[in-house]
Amino acid sequence: MKVSNSQWAEKLSGKMPEHLAREIDIFETEVALRKSGKIDERLFAETRLRKGIYGQRYDNGQRHNGKKVQQIPYPSGELTKGPSTMWDAPGMQRIKIPGGGMNAEQLETMADLAEEYSDGIAHVTTRQDFQLHYIHIDDTPSLMRRLAAANITTREACGNSVRNITACPYAGVCQDEAFDVTPYSRAMAKFLLGHPDVQNFGRKFKPAFSGCSQHACGLTSLHDMGMIAVTRNENGVEERGFETYVGGGLGAVPYHAKLFDDFVPLGELLPLTQAISRVFARLGEKKNRSRARIKFLIQDLGIEKFRELVLEERKTLPSDPRWAEFAKEGEAFQELPLHPGGKPPLLGTEKFQRWAKNNTRPQRQQGYVVVTIALPLGDITSNQLRALADIARRFTRETVRTTVEQNMVLRWVSQSDLVEVHKALEAAELAAPGAGTIIDVATCPGTDTCKLGISSSRGLAGELRKRLTEKNFQLDEAVNNLHIKISGCFNSCGQHHVSDLGFYGVSRKMAGYAVPHFQVVLGGQWENNGNSYGLPVIAIPSKNIPEAVSRLTGRYAENRKNGECFRDFTARIGKVELKKMLEDLTRLPADPSDRSFFSDWGDPREYGLSDMGVGECAGEVVSATDFGLAAAERELFEAQVAWESGQIKQAGEASYQSMLRAAKALVEIETPVVGNDSEEIVREFRARYFDTQKFFDPFAGGKFAEYLFAAHQNADRPYTQDSARYLIDEAQLFIDAAHNCYNRIGAPAIV
């Protein structure tokens, strides 16, 4: 699209690292070949994905405009950049920022790119990446060249490869860490980028580093590979290493990473990673994407067998001099302040005090603080990025990092500069208080731009942020410290599982209409590297979620005992009571003329209009399918309650039964007389909904139906705590998919 595209290669010649320049040249050729039809669209899709170029919502060439599905007549006609992905459709560019570390020049580059190729906004993700939206594929080689000139690559930001390697943004300055993981995370990112052993995965692979086990900043529990810094004393000499975990992941069904080794010496970490990668590439699922993450391989093999295979593989690796160099990274790495450390300011305006309370954090090094810049929904403008670059130069040695809470931090700020830093941030509108508190809501893009989004996570996040900010200073301190995280669908990009109050988007049919909902997920834990996952309690219409938050936080403020955390509070109160508190919010407003529930936050189009049946009076029309699906939800809820009280067998059985109920509800739309025999239900469901693909999710395909088939096949096996937990999550997804299927097929309502 940009007229200047043809000139950037020459303009930046000699300024880009040679290997990146060459890769981008090759990609540009591939773009040209695809345009002339000489590369298959599937191959091109994976090629661009490995460069971080994603599709975006409506890129299949059609969009529901609130009245009807509208075809989008893109100028390039039928030319595609992937299956059902139109060439001219705006896309998203993900940009890897290893460990979140950025200097001032990189901030300025991001500012320029957001302005020239996107819509003036750069977006920080929950994995420390940047994302630019509404990018035209023709502009991507220029965009990549400009990033490369600032020493940033988009390579393997997506696709079945090693994604951004994240690290605690406080590494090196944290009070509690064993040692600074920064140099090791960077060295691993460099080592794995384009490494031949990581090119043949069935799915993505996400590593993360943390300096300690007790804080959340690294979120190692929910990563494919998590490394926590530890030291041991060998003959009076302190040795550095990593407690290493594998097989964690959120996604539809969250898995906790399992301990692989409690101490991997520095010199062993890269070869171990290589060996893990080889085993994953060799044995991991390739055909069925929904079972292709390493967590499933480890679950199937068991951690012991997996470890055995990896260690055998390790023995076969040819030695690489970079392994030993890795161990020396820590010695070579040094981050220094610009100004001498100082004393905290004695005075300051009320505004300053309010900001400093949550947005500054003392460093390990006396006289310095880390300043957090709270970005609303992870968004920052081009002008703000340039202002931040100026501030980073003026007060630090350009020590800026992105965080998994979608914020940015400025490290090594002398306490004596703090008032001036605040003033400078205020001038750039970057001094919003409340970083890391309940108002600092994290969210994925959801229905705004993501093809998989079901509900408007950003719309809801914006609304909650607005409402909570209005009463922020009246909130109970314990409530203020809670976390809210929102995903637009079950895929968990908003990390809702590890939040005090988590939400993920689902749709439900009410009175014959599709209504955007969010599942309320409670009991997750952000601390301890995200070590506890919450469970869904109840699905509530999007428009009632603010009220649900108000009730839950209000009850917590009133009833918490002796400094009890939210997770312990919800466990004590119990899911039954929590559900009871929220149950009335599942209903539509009594006034049938109130149509607000049928659209989502920030989007006035009637939600899922094409799926609607004939309009009926709200709250009066209930079909047998509605009843059947509601019964399935009820049964699953009982399974959750059983699991939490340690009744593992009952939990597993009830989860399985809930899936059968949901399947039966769908089957009965087509054949009203079906018995309670599980064989018959599954057989009928398979024939009518799986084989015909009626049940298939537009993006996940038959994944959720396979959960039922697996549960049915394994119904006689004993349940473990883990397997019952996974089944609960799978059953929830199956029931959500059943609702979606029911919405899609638009069965006539029966009074």
Binding site: Q7, R63, N65, R458, R465
Partner: protein, 192 residues
Amino acid sequence: MQLQHVNVKFLVQNPEEVDLEPLIPVFHGWIQEQPGGEELLLDIADYRHVPAGPGVVLIGHQGNYSVDNTDNRLGVRYNRKAALEGSNIECLKQAARAALLALQRLEADPRLKGKLRFNGRDVEVFVNDRLIAPNTEATREAFGADLRKFLQQMFRGGEFSVSYASDPRKLFTAFVKAAQIFSVADLLDALA
């Protein structure tokens, strides 16, 4: 210097009174209608939560429309994305006309309750491509004559002042202030 990717923004009066929320249904309506011409309207990006940000953006294929609050200067902006044939003055006129037509529709839309109105004299012109037009003295010199000709036509020979953004990292930016008050219709007539 051949200009491309011109942006023109017309500032609104009493920006503190303008509520951006109703713009979302208004812009959805425009996508439904696809007002015609060559412009293909695609989607809406809502950045109301970002202070001094792009506001509400109607994403198009050839260009974006927005009620933009960059630098806390609220205005209706057109951002030309696709290349244009023609002289620099024609490129400037195209962007200005697109922004003015959008502004005219917004001024007339009852959902905005008459609160979004052109302030009559403040216009910003940007070139959204640093390679074509870096924010330098050389660009000002190369582009200044065409910009003045265009402004003279738009303001019907009336007086105006032009100043430029000083930060070389910013887009090439001209801040224009007309000496007298113009309506949107006046300006559109002048550019016809």
